[in-house]
């Protein structure tokens, strides 16, 4: 399990020990700020899966998640001049995605009958050819219904790309202790649901 008190620099680029990937991203951000759409496209391509995935986990509706994630990118484009680099770009972007998604939850609940089942869209990115991985993901997505939207968002951000509690808190704009509580409850609920599902359906 990931240690929850993991601390990482909030802005490695400014501290001078950024990874090549971060440096490259920093360059794209600077170019995009000056109006370079190609550079912004690079940022979109790098973060699209996770931005969409976060929206999908919160909203549980593919069409709405795609729209929310796209709108978040457009807002990020418009707000690039306000991005100070105090948090990482992805943390800043996920904050916009989370806001967009949470704002849509209420209206979406009122028209749930048009929901697309999430199993038809949640494909694992890296192991798409592995039927076992695909089945595992589908099973997990079904179990995600036991969590509330904030818990789903916290779990999603925390287990993608080694995000710290601090970063999850920053992205979701909630206190770190609240994130820890959500993570702890989400883990317990997922474990319980996972065990229950083992009795109800065959593994793999």
């Amino acid at each position: 399990m990931k240690p929850e008190d993991e601390e990482r620099p909030s802005n490695p680029v400014s501290r001078g020990h950024a990874s090549p990937e971060r440096r490259e991203e920093h360059e794209w951000i600077e170019r995009a700020r000056s109006g370079d759409e190609r550079a912004f496209r690079m940022l979109v391509e790098r973060h699209q899966a996770r931005a969409y995935g976060l929206a999908l986990r919160i909203l549980r509706n593919a069409a709405e998640a795609e729209d929310a994630a796209q709108e978040a990118f457009v807002r990020a484009w418009r707000g690039l001049s306000e991005f100070r680099g105090e948090a990482g770009f992805s943390t800043w972007l996920y904050r916009i995605v989370a806001r967009q998604s949470f704002d849509r939850l209420g209206p979406l609940k009122r028209r749930r009958e048009r929901e697309t089942p999430i199993e038809s869209v949640a494909e694992p990115a890296n192991e798409a050819d592995d039927p076992g991985a695909r089945a595992l993901t589908r099973r997990l997505e079904r179990l995600m219904d036991v969590l509330n939207p904030v818990q789903r968002a916290a779990v999603t951000l925390y287990y993608w790309g080694d995000r710290s509690v601090e970063e999850v808190a920053s992205a979701l704009e909630i206190p770190e202790n609240t994130v820890k509580t959500h993570l702890s409850r989400a883990r317990a609920a997922l474990r319980e649901a996972w065990r229950r599902s083992e009795h109800d359906e065959p593994r793999g």
């Binding site: 399990m1 990931k2 759409e37 912004f40 496209r41 979109v44 391509e45 699209q48 899966a49 996770r50 931005a51 969409y52 995935g53 999908l56 593919a62 795609e66 994630a69 796209q70 709108e71 990118f73 457009v74 484009w77 418009r78 869209v121 949640a122 494909e123 694992p124 990115a125 890296n126 192991e127 798409a128 991985a133 595992l136 993901t137 099973r139 997990l140 779990v155 999603t156 287990y159 993608w160 883990r187 997922l190 474990r191 996972w194 065990r195 083992e198």
Partner: protein, 154 residues
């Protein structure tokens, strides 16, 4: 039954895989960015064309309604005695034509209007109404001189 550690290992593995973004997701984002950019440029153009280049008091002074209102107000103050006499004469003429006695308040007002201070006070009291009336008159003239409204910019 598997133990809890194994359960969590599997769950964590599944949690670590973000879903694939839909096909052409980036293309659609960039199309929306281009739309947003065009919209922003159009808004800027509208704002720029309508941007006040001069201070408000210069624009207010240059407004035809203000010019008309101030001219009328100046005329009222400058020739108040003449206007008052003309008004009294017109009122007297009207009353005699109708063969009715002039109402007492009007007679008193007519007498008072012949005094300088009363004229000034009346002029100042009427000034806002004159300015407002001039402004409305000017607006009406503008509307009637422009038969069709300009199309809204998109």
């Amino acid at each position: 039954m598997t133990n809890h550690g194994d359960d969590w290992g599997e769950i964590e593995r599944a949690l670590s895989w973000p879903p694939r973004a839909p096909a052409s997701f980036a293309d659609r984002v960039m199309a929306r960015v281009a739309d947003a950019r065009r919209e922003e440029n159009a808004t800027l153009a509208v704002r720029w064309s309508g941007a006040p280049a001069l201070e408000w008091w210069v624009r207010a002074a240059a407004d035809p309604a203000s010019v008309l209102a101030l001219s009328l107000a100046a005329l009222l103050l400058w020739r108040a005695d003449v206007l008052s006499s003309a008004l009294q004469a017109a009122l007297g003429g009207l009353m005699s034509a109708l063969r009715v006695p002039a109402p007492a308040p009007l007679v008193a007002l007519g007498r008072a209007a012949s005094q300088g201070e009363t004229t000034l006070a009346l002029g100042l009291a009427l000034l806002p109404a004159v300015i407002w009336g001039s402004w409305r008159l000017c607006q009406w003239l503008e509307r009637t001189s422009q038969p069709t409204a300009p199309a809204a910019r998109r």
